[in-house]
Amino acid sequence: MKRRDFFKIVGASTAAAMTGCARSPEQILPLVIPPDNLVPGVASWFSSVCRECPAGCGVVARNREGRIVKLEGNPDHPVNRGTLCIRGQAGLQGLYNPDRVRGPLRRDASGAPKPVAWEEAEKFLAERLAALIKDKQGRRIAVLTQLESGSLGRLMDAWGGALGARRRVAYEPFNYEAVRAASRVVFGRDAIPDYAFEDANVVLSFGADFLETWLSPVAHARGFARMHALAHGRAGTSIHVEPRLSMTAANADEWIRNTPGTERLLAVALLKVILDEGLQAPGVDLAALRGAIGAPDVGAIARQSGVPAETIKRVARALAKAKPGLAVGGGVAVTGIDAVDVQVAIHLLNYATGNVGRTVRFGPDSAFGKASSYADVLALTESMRRGEIEVLLVVHANPVFTLPATTAFADALKKVPLVVSFANQPDETSEHAHLILPDLHPLESWGDFSPREGVVGLMQPTMAPVFGSRAVGDVLIAVGRQALRSAEGKGPLRWATFQDYLKEQWRGIAREVAPGTPFDQFWEEALRRGGVWRGVPTVPVKAQPVAMASKRTATEDGAQGPTLLTYPSLRFYDGRGANKPWLQEAPDSMTQVAWDSWAEIPAERARTLQVRQGDLVRIASPHGAIELPAYISESLHPDAVAIPIGQGHTRYGRYAKDRGANPLALLPQAPTPGGLAFLSVRLTLTKTGGRRPLAIPQATANQDERELAQHVGLTAARELELRGAVPEKASHPSMYPDLKYPEYRWGMTIDVDSCIGCQACVIACKAENNVPVVGKEQVAYGRDMHWLRIERWQEGPPHHPDTLFLPMLCQHCEVAPCEPVCPVFASYHTQEGLNAQVYNRCVGTRYCNNNCPYHVRRFNWWDYGSPASSSYAFPDPLPLQLNPDVTVRQLGVMEKCTMCIQRIIGGKDRARDEGRKVTDGDILTACQQTCPTQAIVFGNLKDPSSRASRVSRSPRGYHVLDELGTRPAITYLKKVTRDHGKT
């Protein structure tokens, strides 16, 4: 039996059971034919690949009764090792997005999309293609896709070849082609290398938001945490150069605020200092290097960049002495007109300090290197505009949104007689499509993706399609064969389905990777494991230091005003995340703004403009203008204005539509050697007089001496580490006898030093625990429902603060203030040390939340859980995502973190089956499971040898608001601060 059919059956029966009202007679539907491996009520896990960005993390999808209820990182996958970022966690809301295209649509003469049958739609397309082939006009067919580094990409290339189409354009808005170009220049290798953060002792980043979106953030976060954490007395150092205090900058030990567009100068100055002081690695071609950098004046650069010469010298020494260090650069925010020169300088820096081959590894090259260049995209646009394209297929790319408006891609689309979109979410590009053939969601599809050389993740349908979508591969094969009038099994497109093609491709992989193994066994194993991976040796490269075209500046010549820093959003990436309400509702890590978009304006400039937070500001560049509410920043460089990319959709479903503005409208279309120049325009700001207050759940970033997020100096931390663990019972005295825990006492430790503020746990928690999304107004009014929040606290001078991220959730206090005040025992303490909240017992007095010093309890102000209510938070088909192990809360009850009680019960159940006690690893809370830096440890505090127990005795351990005597079950570990860069 085909797996697809079986899922269809289970899926249908669950849907029927779910829509049944609780009080009316309810139907229960048995399976007609039972599947081999699935028991209703028991979760099955299917591995796949996350396609929310090209990092290609492995995921496992938890299938309950035929529907996917949770995504988790694949623990075996070498990229993410079991963890996921915020966007990966939210991938499910793409699958169950209520605005998904439900079936093929064809636009009629009036321009309105009308549903058509699949056969009709395919036939229509095939006939158009056949007509072109007949006239030998195959060149008039173009395919525009996202980066597809696996079989689908190859199939589309084969398809294009068979039809004589143009070369496929694999468009990624952020393709980091400056890095690639610089690799070509310096190392003669057209590739983006693999950066080994974990092996570096000092990381110097030029604007690279490697913890947020750059290349492979989950892998980098893990590497960063390993590099940075204090272990055995050693701790790496991180230095970040950027005009804006990004999340990555906030995690650096030293944030250097430079004048926008001076990264190249700084890199050159660093090289100069290294060479002058003779700190270069042995074997470096000094003369060539000297020639490449010329004779820069460090003093002048210091003045120009606003970075003191002393700092430059100190950073240069730190990097050179790191052995190895790592210099990275090239987030979108530093992609100016001179981007390639910046990257060349950074490559040279790595070369000069001996990092190439150690922390900068060619060989396991990133898939980003395979994306088409911006120039290719522009060329295609130009062809379209000139009417050279008859049929354009757009597969998972949204260029109308992600290309600068100046490229006029939308106008070019209008010149194409037939635009076919395979988007399964209605977006700005599919708005212009004549035919929409919705592709399956990646979690419903077969496929594979190779994020870097040596790693191929395998995707399989983890559930039956939610709607009537078809796999783009299947459609292309079918349509191509119809157009070529060839039969199945024959011709260039002989495969019956894309699945067949995929398997054929994998036979090739099998031959290469496991020559001895029978293919079926290899295939099963790959499906189970989620792909194949093997080590790829580092390729030695030879540097050829060449002179940079140093006359180029970052921004457009002669322009005045603050520089636009537009950067990919941690939550929305290039905008594809904006249709996911979880991501919209998660506050931005740094500004804590939810739902909206904003322009971060330096406080000085805001004062001049007389702009307050939330005032609408018109932001104009020579290329366009947008309006956004102001976010006043003390820390942003006075010559910059920062705007995140990702919002401003005009058509991307209800959650994304008309929210904020798209800053790409401000950019010029002119290509540069480094692709699109994101940092190239200067702005004019005017106050419009309008207001749109931002939804910021965090009232203040000032801890007001309350020591919620604590820190300790590195030297002191080392000393403490040497002194060893603290005794467990250093708590406040009590009048009462101590509580007894017969079997377990659950507890948690959270390492504030490891927490990077990425919010992945927030979404994991939301997904696991059926936490409703409440909308901007409610978030702004302190009624957000997050059980877990990441707080951003700042200390020190406001223009250059130290940032502390503090994950705050129910502390499961032993002496819980919330418990005795509840009149009905809805809040009580379990014998396993959990602070329990019984939803169905709650009468809603809200006394508990008043009395909770941490305010981590969440009240259902509206009826989020009932379909009849106007505030229902789960429009169809989002209810399919709801975790069946967790009650959806009713109106008027309090809820909060349960430490994933359903997982605790499950873990205990499994242990009992095996006749043993629960040990480490049996139970992972959702937040712990997804944390890329593994800052969270959950476990049994009663067992002194459990990991949570051991970590909680760390000398860095403390309890938040300890002086209240609540005795929390969560121990935080103080952040270890470096004196580095402190004056």
């Binding site: 309810e26 048995p30 399976l31 034919i33 159940d909």
Partner: protein, 192 residues
Amino acid sequence: MRRQVGVGVATLALFAAILSLAHSAGAQPAAPAQPIAFSHQIHAGQYKINCQYCHADARRSEYAGLPSVSRCMGCHKITAADRPEIQKLAAFFNEKKPIPWVRVFKVPEYVHFPHKPHVRAEVTCQTCHGPVETMAVVGATTGQNLTNDLLNLLGLARSSTPLTMGWCVECHTTMNATKQTKAPLECVVCHH
């Protein structure tokens, strides 16, 4: 005098109303009409088929599970294939349609009742579902509200297996006291 008679009549009427309410509540609840007239009495009573032969998920899942149509057909391809009710079953199987059984036993949506640990603890199915093997049709009234509370207060229990919380708790307490089991008494074990 007339007034006193009136008061007496009113009191009697009230009492009768309460009694009849209690009686109707305590009576065997009506069984819903099922798409196929399946009899547990025949299968579990007469032929002594083990409950878990059909409800096979009970030992490994939260849900007891219903037999798949193919499992029914495993026997009924031959057994009693000529009966009209069995022909209905065959029709479902041939059309590859699930049988729309009407649910009888239900706890509220905020209650998680897992079958597996109960089976593991060797609790018989009859403990909660009543003597199903004697029932040609199965009906149950479950749930809890203020009326039930008041009836309970008057000592007018509704059904031998009411699936109410107090009933669950009582069994857990008794078992722990008498059989040294570790049946949990934490609220959040069921309500989470």
